[in-house]
Amino acid sequence: MSWKRTADVVVIGAGVQGCSIAYNLAKMGVKDIVVLEKGTICSGSTGRCGAGIRAQWGTEMNCRFGLAAVEKFEQLHEELGMDCGLNQSGYLMVAYKDSEFEQLQKSMKLQNSLGINTRVVTYDEAKEICPGLAAEDAVGFTFHDRDGHADPFLTTFAYMEAAKRLGVKFLRFTEATDVKTVAGRVAGIVSSRGDIDAPVVVNAAGGYSQFISKMAGVEIPNFSERHEILITEPVEPGVCPPMLMSFSGNYYIQQRPHGSIIGGCSPEGHPQDYELGNSWDFLEMMSRTFVRLLPRTKGVRVVRQWSGLYNMTPDRQPVLCEADNVKGFFLSCGYSGHGFMFGPISGELLAQLILGQEPWIPIGMLHYSRFERGELLIEPAVV
């Protein structure tokens, strides 16, 4: 294939964000879109994530994104023509401290006011929802039955295949090495395989997005943190159907319909070294959490552990905007561990912004200028 020197839009990164943005732009009529990926499709944070989808959030923006994303996922198979592995068995939030339970209930009131039917459940109800649960030390639970998870690989591939059918080009093993700007406007990119001139460039580079921003002369305070995760062999379903999640307990655990059980937690020391390694400490800590919380898993075997990058912002809410000082340079990053679940909605909203339309959920407050102004709206509900 000969090298393509121009495009209408270049998207950097083929995770769920990049693929969703490209698909939504193509669906809205943009003809000439190229997606660059330095590795293989879905090889970054999307493919490494915990796969959860939830509307149980603590800020209005995240609640609205969460609910809209759940609604998108519910019809994604039909829209994209490929099964995305959606499984809505709910998120069961577990509080171990009174203050934590108060926060969950405060968030629940906000969620209820936005049409998210989260409810408080008793320990007995919690055990009906999650038969293997042992949480005598918990003080309270909330549950939302439309939460759940989808397959991050299949979702991303479904977006890519649908985008390809609309004419989008995907270039694997092609790393963006510079972003060209002229007089306050983006002019294109330089890559490991050649230049592409384009009036619109989208930074969807996940854990590496701060480097891409810097190439364009945009300084954002994003940083990347390594988080670890493990998966067990498949066992009979019913061990842990909902996503069990606790902020003070520091865990999320869920059994896939396929039978394997996924679990992760927030790392000690919050490593920011871009190393995607695995630690014995995580394996031991996470295994202790499993057997304490779900005693029936003690004989279940771990088959794999891995890690991925959370692209964090100071308030744990995303950056979704056009750069102030570089017109035509758009950012979709800083999802702070929730980029996969927001992908279907953020891709649509950014495509609307790129085409000069009013995003149907207002995203003005997701501009990175909020950090400079000190207008942080901190999301309390993050593991």
Binding site: T40, I41, C42, S43, G47, F153, L154, F157, E161, T232, E233, P234, H258, N278, W280, L283, E284, S287, R288, F290, V291, T297, K298, G299, V300, R301, V302, V303, R304, Q305, W306
Partner: protein, 93 residues
């Protein structure tokens, strides 16, 4: 490429057939890791010990790159499945 071998199961852990593997290679999923993501080959308890070599040969047949030059995909710990209760007991620091 259709033939009588298409129904043979190549990844026994995840029950993926030769036909499915060829179909996705044909669609451009030409690395082991991409096939793993879309079909779950190599994600089961044996972690690719049974299927990896056969899949690399299929990729080689399509791409005309020698097996020795094809990236074998990522290997992740633990080396063999270990029970959660054993891991939870910890080891010597």
């Amino acid at each position: 490429m259709a033939g009588k071998n298409e129904d043979i199961i190549i990844c026994r852990c995840e029950e993926v057939t030769l036909g499915e593997i060829r179909e996705w290679i044909e669609k451009g999923y030409e690395t082991f890791d991409e096939l793993k993501r879309v079909l779950r080959v190599g994600m089961g308890p044996c972690q690719g010990r049974g299927c990896r070599e056969m899949i690399l040969r299929e990729i080689s047949a399509k791409t005309k790159v020698s097996v020795a030059d094809i990236h074998p995909g990522t290997f992740r710990p633990p080396a063999k499945p270990v029970k959660l209760a054993v891991l939870a007991k910890g080891g010597d620091k």
